[in-house]
């Protein structure tokens, strides 16, 4: 019996070793291709950065009041383009690496599966990026406008708007990646609705006095208040 156990262990060890030995060239090919891609991507990004710096790209863009810098002002246009070039080439390198892995290891079907799914991943990444930028921009816009309107729940409104956009983005990303199926739709509906309801309740309760005052104003003429603004002339 022990001999049989020993034999089966030896067989499985041999199979695993053979498998690893079969995969090793593929892994090596993948690593080599990836390393070359990183080097090329880095080199190209460096060249692009040097060119953009030489032609004073940031200054030209800022002169033209570009929308890019309004929406994503943390990074300069040069950095955005340089990073796009770097990551673009890295992704291409990754795909080539997977292809090389498949060719070297004789594992069929991997690259086909990956290549079919890659556009979804890229689309989802773009969605996530745009959603983040839009959420931050809208949240700040709402916050500043609400503060300038003297609304005491300005932060609540801004946070609500931010989360609404983020939840919407997350649902779109998951849907794009075909993850979760109907659960995502359902969860999104509940979350989105919940946020809207919570905001409506919070703002409604917070503005109760304001609403009642404005209703009273229709019936009773308010006491004359001294108007200060007329004496202050800003312009």
């Amino acid at each position: 019996m022990w001999e049989q156990v020993e034999q089966s262990l030896r067989d499985s060890m041999a199979r695993v070793t053979t498998k690893v030995a079969t995969l090793l060239p593929g892994i090596l090919a993948f690593v080599v291709v990836l390393a070359i891609s990183v080097a090329i991507a880095w080199l190209l990004a460096w060249v692009v950065r040097r060119i953009l710096t030489a032609v004073k790209f940031d200054e030209r863009i800022s002169r033209g009041n570009s929308g890019i810098s309004e929406w994503a002002p943390t990074y300069t246009p040069t950095i955005v383009i340089t990073r796009t070039v770097f990551w673009g080439f890295l992704i291409i390198g990754l795909l080539v690496g997977i292809s090389a892995f498949e060719a070297a290891s004789a594992e069929s079907g991997i690259s086909e599966y990956v290549f079919t799914y890659v556009p979804h991943i890229i689309g989802a990444a773009i969605l996530l990026l745009v959603g983040n930028i839009v959420a931050r921009f809208l949240s700040r816009s709402v916050l500043i406008t609400a503060v300038n309107l003297n609304l005491h729940y300005a932060r609540l409104l801004a946070t609500g708007v931010k989360w609404l956009v983020m939840v919407l983005t997350a649902a779109m990303v998951l849907d794009h990646l075909s993850i979760g199926g109907q659960i995502v739709d359902l969860a999104f509906g509940i979350l989105f609705g919940g946020i809207v309801l919570a905001l409506a309740l919070a703002v409604g309760l917070g503005s109760r006095d304001l609403v009642s005052r404005s209703l009273e104003k229709e019936a009773v003429k308010p006491i004359e208040m001294p108007v200060q603004e007329e004496r202050l002339r800003h312009f």
């Binding site: 800022s62 002169r63 033209g64 009041n65 810098s69 309004e70 929406w71 002002p73 943390t74 300069t76 921009f137 700040r140 816009s141 916050l143 500043i144 406008t145 609400a146 503060v147 300038n148 003297n150 005491h152 300005a154 932060r155 001294p226 200060q228 004496r231 202050l232 002339r233 800003h234 312009f235």
Partner: protein, 411 residues
């Protein structure tokens, strides 16, 4: 912003007129009949060939070619189609550019622009504005309007002192509706983009262009102050436009203003207007202080992107004060403005957001000023504004340091 291309009809009329000694342009639409009636008295005794440029939405061009009781030529110019939400300043800037382009085409020796309310379309103010530029004593004559201590607050606290620091000229109204320009600077102002290598600000800042061109600037005390149609104008929208335009100028003229060491007073013509009774009625500043406090609680994450922690701490401390004790130190205000100017340049936050976040700070300054000046006369208020302008100058090294090494200061 290139020089304006006029329609064929206007070009024919310019050729017909030939040239001019003085072009007087009315910035904005005006009632032609009223303009013609006023022209006879306003131009009485004015030497040389005068052309009056105007824009009249209802008049046809033929009407403009008629001559009435005055020897002046009337030249209608087409009004730019502006965004319905445009402010009086952008409308005036568009009209100023049109008038200056006409003057450039006519090769006029001098050009004066006046507000469409025709408040300064009278012999004395016209003489004060145009004589120095016609005689070659000055390249630009800017107005000094009579004003009370609570008038033109945005100009007092930001536009005038910042312009003074940048260009070294103590001009009271850098963003004026009336001014006169010599022939040397007419083409430069008509095409504000020429030679600057950067887009012109949407508003007209004649002082900046003349100062950078090494021109001579004088001021003229005018009797009429223009009533701004501020109804329906949102403070944040106007502040965004005016401050944004000036910050754009700060960026455009950085090479110039970094070399300016001190400011110089301007020769001011005319007699100061009579003293008006001092307004000592108490002012309720609580709403403005509350706006400021609300902003310090909510806008910290935005202010933090442009304002260094020390200044932010000072602002927070201010927000805890009682409205009656609320005083914003000059240095704090000045440095905050410099920080915002730098924030506008480095764009680590959207410019729309940056300028929107300036409104509560401005209201804080207004509250502080109004409390401090409650019992002060107009003259004392003027001294106070001068003190603030000096604070802008004293803190210029701070702006220079931040401008040159923006990353070093956020400590």
């Amino acid at each position: 912003m290139a020089r304006i291309e006029f329609p064929e009809e206007t070009r024919r009329r310019i050729e017909q007129i030939g040239g001019a000694d003085l072009v007087i342009g009315v910035a904005g639409t005006v009632d032609v009949q009223q303009l013609r009636q006023r022209a006879a008295s306003a131009l009485a005794g004015m030497p040389g060939k005068v052309v009056i440029a105007y824009s009249d939405a209802s008049a046809d061009a033929a009407q403009g070619s008629e001559s009435t009781m005055t020897s002046a030529e009337f030249l209608p110019y087409p009004q730019d189609t502006l965004d319905p939400g445009s402010t009086p300043w952008s409308q005036a800037a568009s009209a100023h550019r049109a008038v200056l382009s006409l003057a450039a085409n006519l090769e006029a020796h001098a050009c004066a622009v006046i507000h469409s309310d025709l408040g300064n379309f009278a012999p004395e103010p016209l003489a004060l504005l145009t004589t120095p530029v016609r005689d070659g004593q000055a390249d630009l004559v800017m107005p000094v309007y009579p004003e009370g201590k609570y008038d033109g607050l945005l100009n007092k606290c930001m536009l005038a002192p910042l312009s003074r620091v940048l260009f070294g000229k103590r001009v009271r109204y850098p963003l004026a509706f009336d001014f006169a320009v010599s022939s040397r600077f007419i083409p430069k102002l008509a095409d504000a983009n020429a030679g600057r290598g950067a887009p012109a600000a949407p508003l007209m800042w004649p002082v900046n262009l003349v100062a950078t061109g090494d021109g001579i600037i004088e001021q003229a005390r005018l009797a009429a102050q223009h009533t701004m149609l501020t109804e329906g104008l949102d403070l944040t929208a106007v502040l965004t436009q005016l401050a944004g335009s000036l910050f754009q100028e700060v960026e455009n003229c950085a090479a110039f203003w970094q070399r300016v060491r001190a400011s110089h007073s301007m020769n001011t013509l005319g007699i100061p207007s009579a003293e008006t009774p001092t307004d000592v009625r108490p002012m309720d500043v609580r709403p403005m202080v509350e706006s400021f406090s609300l902003a310090t609680r909510n806008l910290e994450e935005i202010w933090r992107l442009v304002i260094p922690p020390v200044t932010l701490l000072e602002l927070k401390r201010l927000a805890r004060l009682d409205p009656l004790e609320f005083r914003m130190p000059d240095q704090l205000w000045v440095r905050a403005i410099y920080d915002f100017a730098l924030g506008y340049r480095v764009r680590n936050i959207s410019r729309v957001h940056l300028l929107g976040a300036l409104t509560p700070l401005y209201l804080g300054w207004v509250a502080s000023y109004a409390t401090e000046m409650a019992n002060a006369s107009d003259e004392q208020a003027e001294q106070r504004v001068e003190q603030l302008a000096q604070a802008f100058e004293e803190n210029k090294p701070y702006l220079l340091a931040r401008w040159r090494w923006p990353d070093r200061m956020n400590l």
